[in-house]
Point group: C2
Chain length 308, copies 2
């Protein structure tokens, strides 16, 4: 029996916790700045001097964020990419990840390894090393990724800096991410974010996890401003209604604001990606409205997906 076949026939119980860790350890790639990865009490890594550290974490749970009928490659990609997206939403560069796994003992080992392979592939693609983690037994599959990134202090973009008159942009089309399966294959907007903080001065930024209106709402709250959106300008997928584009979660596009002058330049850039201007910041604190195709302006409720 080949090694691949023997792994496919096994579940995590049959190799045990430390057998599983050894399998993972052999398969994960690390970069030169990792002094010690998986296999000690903590990982040891370097951070560039003079940079600030960014820290984020996301927990995915079977039943809530994915089901076992979904491809393991998508689940692994998502677990890593949602954290990369958070680091990108701050204007930073992701560097290191810790993976905590809760796994049902009878889950096929092959399924778990495919999740890790996907996590590692996505991690590598964005310059991230998986340096450690924890593995426990649970009744449902749980994946928690914690990520460390870095950024120049003056380039970090918070949610709190949007100013009246700033233009609001998104990095891509919105809506129906869960229904279409795009939430398992989305591209975290790291390139876009790096381009932005290098060449422009975004005043606020966030990634869309809870829905356009919900996440824009966080910017409005933290920046103490309001927003008016233009229905026509909101880019959406063919399978997404306006409602989907406004309220669906898990698009993982970035919403950001820039001063008017920069907005004019931004719309004209020639790059392999595109920024869509969708509206403007107003002085009506935490109020959001939308101008329809008919030119009529309507208030919209600032709320997004909430887990409870």
């Amino acid at each position: 029996m080949s090694k691949a076949t023997s792994i496919m026939a096994k579940n995590i119980s049959s190799v045990g916790e430390f057998g599983f860790i050894d399998l993972i350890r052999k398969r994960m790639s690390t970069s030169g700045s990792v002094l010690k990865g998986i296999g000690d009490d903590a990982a040891v890594v370097s951070l560039s001097p003079g940079k600030k550290m960014l820290l984020t974490t996301d927990m995915l749970l079977e039943g809530a964020h994915f089901t076992l009928t979904m491809p393991p490659s998508g689940i692994g990609h998502k677990a890593m990419a949602v954290n990369i997206s958070d680091i990108a939403a701050m204007g930073g560069v992701p560097k290191y990840a810790l993976v905590s796994l809760g796994a049902p003992p009878n889950l096929p080992l092959d399924y778990l390894l495919k999740i890790y392979q996907a996590m590692d592939k996505t991690a590598q693609q964005y310059g991230v090393s998986i340096v450690g983690g924890d593995t426990i037994k649970s009744s449902k599959l749980i994946i928690n990724v914690a990520m460390v990134g870095e950024a120049d202090e003056e380039k970090i973009v918070y949610r709190s800096g949007a100013k009246v008159g700033d233009r609001i942009f998104v990095t891509g089309r919105l809506g129906s991410s869960l229904k279409s399966g795009r939430h398992l294959t989305f591209v975290p907007r790291l390139k876009e974010s790096q381009y932005l903080v290098k060449h422009f001065k975004p005043t606020a930024m966030i990634d869309i996890s809870d829905g356009l209106v919900g996440d824009l709402g966080h910017i409005l709250k933290e920046s103490r401003v309001g927003a008016v959106l233009s229905e026509d300008a909101i880019p959406r997928y063919p399978d997404a209604s306006l409602k989907n584009a406004l309220y669906d979660g898990e698009d993982f596009e970035l919403i950001f604001t820039v001063p008017f002058k920069q907005a004019e330049k931004l719309k004209r850039i020639k790059m392999p990606f595109r920024f869509y201007e969708i509206g403007e910041i107003t002085d009506q604190e935490r109020q959001c409205s939308i101008v329809g195709k008919d030119g009529v302006r309507q208030k919209i409720t600032v709320k997004g997906y909430t887990h409870f």
Copy 2:
């Protein structure tokens, strides 16, 4: 109705995800090096220049590591302290924590807040700031803590440096941690670890999560050496048998090795803590034996608690 009473009557559903995050955000303390804590896509923190970063994570699950009949203060303490213990086991100083919480919607809010209060109290006591996290709905309570620490590169202690002839020490009494409830109240050995790396040169170190023999086994494996222990010298609690002291998990004492000459000094130090010499490193790779009260040397199996 007072604010405290109103919180006690609520569960997490009644305040919602963002209501809950706001409650936590107000209650968590942060230090001066935290530029941005809870409330953006990622936390922004500083790390001392020239230091190496240590990264660790531990996931605690209702049913496996604790039950809801246990005091929330103990659960919160444990979730934080197990990570502090991992950083201490590397010779580092813990700095920042991210907390991911999976919570059943009907769990009393008061119970959750008590867990966070305990996490924050323990964090503060050891100089750690809780800077972010994630909150999701789950059927069982899940707490994942990821921690960042720092250390001078030359002071980091791995599992892999033990040499033949080194003496083996532990930082405290062992055994029956789960049965006695001590796993909820243990003291992570940060002071001891800091004293050690400042004044001595430990060759290998690990904390006891899987049991003395199991975790010593990791040192033996990584250092390619063996060990002989002395039954008489192993400190144990009055409620713990030798078997408990050797094999029980979750003591969270440190096991470390030092060269013979340093061992002689270590045994004579006058400090508010004590190091117990329990044996010696041998050249018999991955073999462990114990000398009984009767002077007879017996092989012991190197295995510890495993989750699968």
